[in-house]
């Protein structure tokens, strides 16, 4: 019978261990994992980009449900283990699930330290450890303004930068004299503090927090020892971590600061291993992934009857904050017998310091330019004698021998065994050999095949350079589809950068993102205009010259240069007054064609451009507004007659349709949005092929989305069911807002949903009330500026130049 392996904790370390184990012998064990978090395994290092909005949760998943299924691993989510019974060799989770083991791996990670300050238990005091924390912070950033981060170490600074990027006012309160005092020296910390000040993050050093002041159970301010009071809606406590050892302690294992292991990573019980941040090995506990990955390899081997040993690790640190380049490794305190080499370039904001002892590098701090970090670290770990290049050492590797400081030359000059990816311990030749032997051409492939740059991602640049060196011209770093020929960036990049770089006009985007053309093209300008309208409602002034003609003049151009006019008929309902007005307008302006559209309303076609304002003026008198039949925006909400008349009707489908249309008209969206509301599952309003649809039932409202019936045909997916009309409206609005914020220009809802994942959308809209509310509120806010009838505006004189010729020449003189 197969041996049983149970793992407690599903973090990064056991994820890596399983990969080694499955690669060597996929059939050795029946594997069961208990995880306290309610999800699969993800890259914890990348939480900061998720917090700042530069990445999504999906982007950072390392092992998805399919992976566990494929490898027949049982994963109990949201099931923290409460007891280990070593006598019967079983573990039991919170809800009572019990599993027996032959071998057990404890990988419970660590817990954030909570200083027991007065007020530490207030609502709004958070820590920074897992995705739930990130979601809490992102939610807070949408509704609130002031954030205080206690702790100016690696985590605190990443949290501060992320919260700032989410638009909060952020203050960092740090106990020591300078930031990151464990990894930096004072000069580098000064540059770092300045960089944060430039980002608009206030930093208080030598600041001891006395109390967190509350108001009605919620955080209100942070009070320092010196009396300073800092406004706060949330407080993020990032003062350090403590190995999570309670469970092991209760099981009677040897525990000091961490769970004590021997060189084979065994605890005091030979059948129980410990792995990751919860471990103490030779008196050391680690808080970075590189050592944990080494441990993971050792355990995988020992689980398969091997005997490899772990010898401890030296670690290097990089800060992952966009725009801040920082690398540090080793020991760089001043001391006897130590010499230092310093290089500064104030203009470029560069500071580099190496600490030497006995002609060997023992510490390195680099700020502003970190390319040589891995090279110095490599020599540090090997204890290389640097006396022969002592004088030029600080200028970096490229300087040794070759003169130009060309980064490509520097990478080319690295020895084969130079470490490129510190997290995963991957050296240069492993990467270049794999590129050749497996015929890899994209960064993602290299990540998948070698693990290099798959953890914290800071070595991505080096890996790309290696790819360029190995593949030559065959390497195309921009495998993402660019928006258009004016840029190499894809839509997602551009949307992200608009937010993170706070870009608020088309010229600002083109400048900052280095557009290759002076003013873009007909592909990118309308897209950028939409992104800006969607991202900065009320602030960005619509650029009409960047709109297609239909949206510029609020009518649809026809093949002969005339226009069509489609007024709104809310939910497809009309009246004698409306019909009579249309009849009169058709007569008065000699409109050649009147047609009932596929969208339950009436189209008047063949109108001269000059006549448009007059036609609208007449229509406006009967209360007609634009039907936006030309817009990447809300088009139609088709309805059926519902309970008003139909013998099968279960709800007021007409009323709901009208309500949705009146709530949402005028909004701009990435592509057009069409909806339908049917009063029963017979579905006469064809709601199940719309972008968003509703099927009414006796029990309430079934909300559908992601249908298509144009170029593609596709039935809708069910988003979920709600009981009341108010809820239906809220959920639909939230869904559309999520799409407005994430969709690529011209990407219909069904395509967006395919890209983002149906489950993710369901989870955010159906299961996360705060998130839903935030989307809803954002939509309502933007409608304040969008719900202005464009026809009325033009009747009153707006954009007059659009409708009249500039001049009419009589050409006697020339004829």
């Amino acid at each position: 019978m197969k041996q049983k392996l149970v793992i407690i904790g599903n973090g990064m370390a056991p994820g890596r261990m399983l990969e080694h184990l499955l690669e060597s012998d996929p059939d050795a064990y029946d594997i069961t994992i208990f995880n306290a978090e309610p999800r699969v395994n993800y890259n914890r290092l990348m939480l900061s980009p998720v917090l700042s909005g530069e990445k999504n949760y999906e982007d950072i998943i390392t092992h998805d449900d399919a992976w566990y299924a494929k490898n027949s691993i049982t994963l109990h989510k949201e099931e923290p283990v409460e007891t280990i019974d070593r006598a019967s060799k079983t573990v039991t989770g919170k809800s009572g699930i019990t599993a027996g083991y032959d071998k057990l791996v404890i990988a419970t990670g660590s817990n954030p330290i909570m200083i027991p300050l007065p007020g530490a238990d207030l609502d709004g005091v958070l820590t920074y450890r897992d995705l739930d924390d990130v979601e809490r912070m992102v939610r807070a950033s949408r509704a609130m303004r002031h954030a205080v981060v206690i702790g100016g170490g690696l985590l605190g600074l990443e949290a501060a930068a992320g919260l700032k990027m989410q638009g909060m006012d952020v203050t960092v309160v740090h106990l020591a004299d300078y930031l990151m005092e464990r990894q930096l020296d004072q000069s580098a910390a000064h540059l770092l503090e300045r960089a944060f000040a430039q980002k608009g993050v206030a930093v208080h050093t030598s600041a001891n927090t006395k109390e967190i002041v509350g108001d009605a159970g919620k955080v209100a301010a942070v009070l320092l020892d010196d009396g300073t009071r800092i406004e706060a809606d949330i407080v993020c406590m990032a003062v350090g971590i403590r190995p999570s050892v309670d469970l092991a302690k209760r099981a009677g294992l040897d525990v000091h600061r961490g769970i004590v292991v021997d060189n084979n990573m065994r605890t005091s019980d030979a059948d129980i291993f410990a792995l990751g941040e919860c471990v103490e090995h030779q008196g050391e506990c680690y808080g970075l992934v590189a050592p944990l990955y080494e441990m993971a390899k050792v355990i995988a081997d020992n689980l398969l009857e091997g005997a490899s040993t772990y010898a401890g690790s030296v670690t290097a640190t990089k800060l992952k904050v966009t725009g801040v380049d920082l690398y540090s490794a080793g020991d760089f305190a001043d001391g006897e017998n130590r010499e230092e080499i310093v290089l500064r370039d104030a203009n470029a904001g560069i500071y580099k310091r190496l600490v030497l002892q006995d002609n060997k590098i023992i510490g390195a701090v680099l700020y502003g330019e970190t390319l040589d970090g891995p090279w110095f670290f490599d020599m540090l770990k090997k204890g290389a004698d640097v006396s022969s290049m002592r004088d030029t050492l600080i200028f970096g590797q490229a300087f040794q021998g070759a003169e130009p400081l060309d980064p490509m030359a520097a990478v080319a000059a690295l020895p084969d065994d130079a470490e490129i990816c510190g997290c995963n311990g991957i050296c240069k030749s492993t990467i270049t050999d794999t590129i050749v032997s497996k015929d890899l051409s994209t960064l993602d492939d290299v990540r998948a095949q070698t693990k290099a740059s798959s953890s914290c991602g800071t070595c991505t640049g080096l890996v790309e350079q290696l790819m360029a060196l190995t593949l030559g011209d065959a390497y195309n770093p921009n495998a993402v589809t660019p928006m258009c020929a004016c840029t190499d960036l894809g839509h997602s990049d551009v949307r992200r950068l608009i937010k993170t770089k706070n870009l608020r006009s088309i010229p600002a985007i083109q400048q900052e993102l280095e557009w290759k053309t002076s003013n873009g093209c007909a592909k990118c300008r309308p897209a950028l205009n939409y992104y800006l309208i969607s991202d900065w409602p009320g602030d960005y002034a619509d650029d009409y010259q960047s709109r297609f003609i239909n949206e510029r003049v609020h009518a649809n151009i026809q093949k002969d240069g005339t226009y069509s006019v489609v007024p709104r008929m809310w939910g497809g309902q009309t009246s004698s007054l409306e019909l009579r007005t249309i009849a009169d307008v058709v007569d008065k302006y000699n409109i050649p064609t009147v047609k009932v559209t596929g969208g339950q309303r009436i189209d008047m076609l063949g109108i001269e451009k000059e006549d448009l304002p007059a036609v609208w003026a007449d229509l406006g008198k009967a209360g007609f507004v634009s039907g936006h039949a030309y817009a990447k925006g809300l088009r139609t909400v088709k309805t059926c007659v519902g309970t008003d008349w139909c013998r099968f009707g279960t709800q007021d489908s007409t009323g709901l349709g009208v309500r949705i249309e009146k709530f949402m008209w005028g909004s701009w969206t990435p592509a057009k949005v069409k909806m339908g509301v049917s009063g029963c599952p017979r579905n006469c309003a064809e709601a199940t092929c719309k972008d968003v649809g509703v099927i009414c039932t006796e029990a309430g409202f079934e909300i559908h989305f992601a249908g298509a019936a144009g170029l593609d045909i596709k039935g809708t997916e069910v988003l979920g069911s709600v009981k009341t009309e108010d809820e239906a409206l809220e959920y639909i609005v939230a869904l559309v807002q999520m799409y407005r914020e994430q969709g690529h220009y011209l990407e219909r809802i069904y395509k967006w949903a395919k890209r983002i994942g149906l489950d993710e959308i369901r989870s955010q809209i159906m299961d996360q009330p705060e998130r839903r509310k935030a989307f809803f509120d954002a939509f309502v806010y933007s409608q304040k500026f969008a719900q202005v009838d464009p026809w009325t505006e033009r009747v009153s004189g707006k954009d007059k130049h659009e409708f009249n010729p500039m001049a009419t020449l009589t050409l006697e003189a020339a004829e």
Partner: protein, 110 residues
């Protein structure tokens, strides 16, 4: 409006045209599209796309070209030439700026 100064006819003020925008000038049976590509840069071109006669005055203006509103041909404003793989040419007309006044060569209209 007919203010003939030699062959040059004044057709309006530069500020009548939005930057990266255009206006139409009616001249008998012809419609001329007058484009403004910069603070003081104007071009005049027949308002008819070499593809299927689309009204170029209604297109998006970018980098010295206009994209036709009907099927996205890109037409150079200075030469009237279709760009890329498409072939065809729209007639162009000389223009001049006198201070802020836009002048069109009336001779070329006949």
């Amino acid at each position: 409006m007919t203010i003939a100064t030699g062959n040059w006819v004044a057709i309006g003020n530069i500020s009548d045209i939005p930057e990266l925008g255009s206006r139409r000038v009616m001249a008998g049976k012809k419609t001329i599209a007058v484009f403004r590509t910069g603070p003081s840069e104007v071009f005049a071109i027949e308002d008819s796309c070499p593809h299927k006669g689309g009204p170029l005055s209604q297109g998006i203006v970018h980098d010295g070209c206009v994209t036709c509103p009907l099927h996205n041909w890109v037409i150079s404003l200075s030469t009237g030439e279709a760009q890329g793989a498409d072939e065809g040419r729209a007639k162009t007309y000389p223009t001049m700026l006198d201070g802020e006044t836009i002048l069109l060569d009336a001779q070329a209209l006949t």
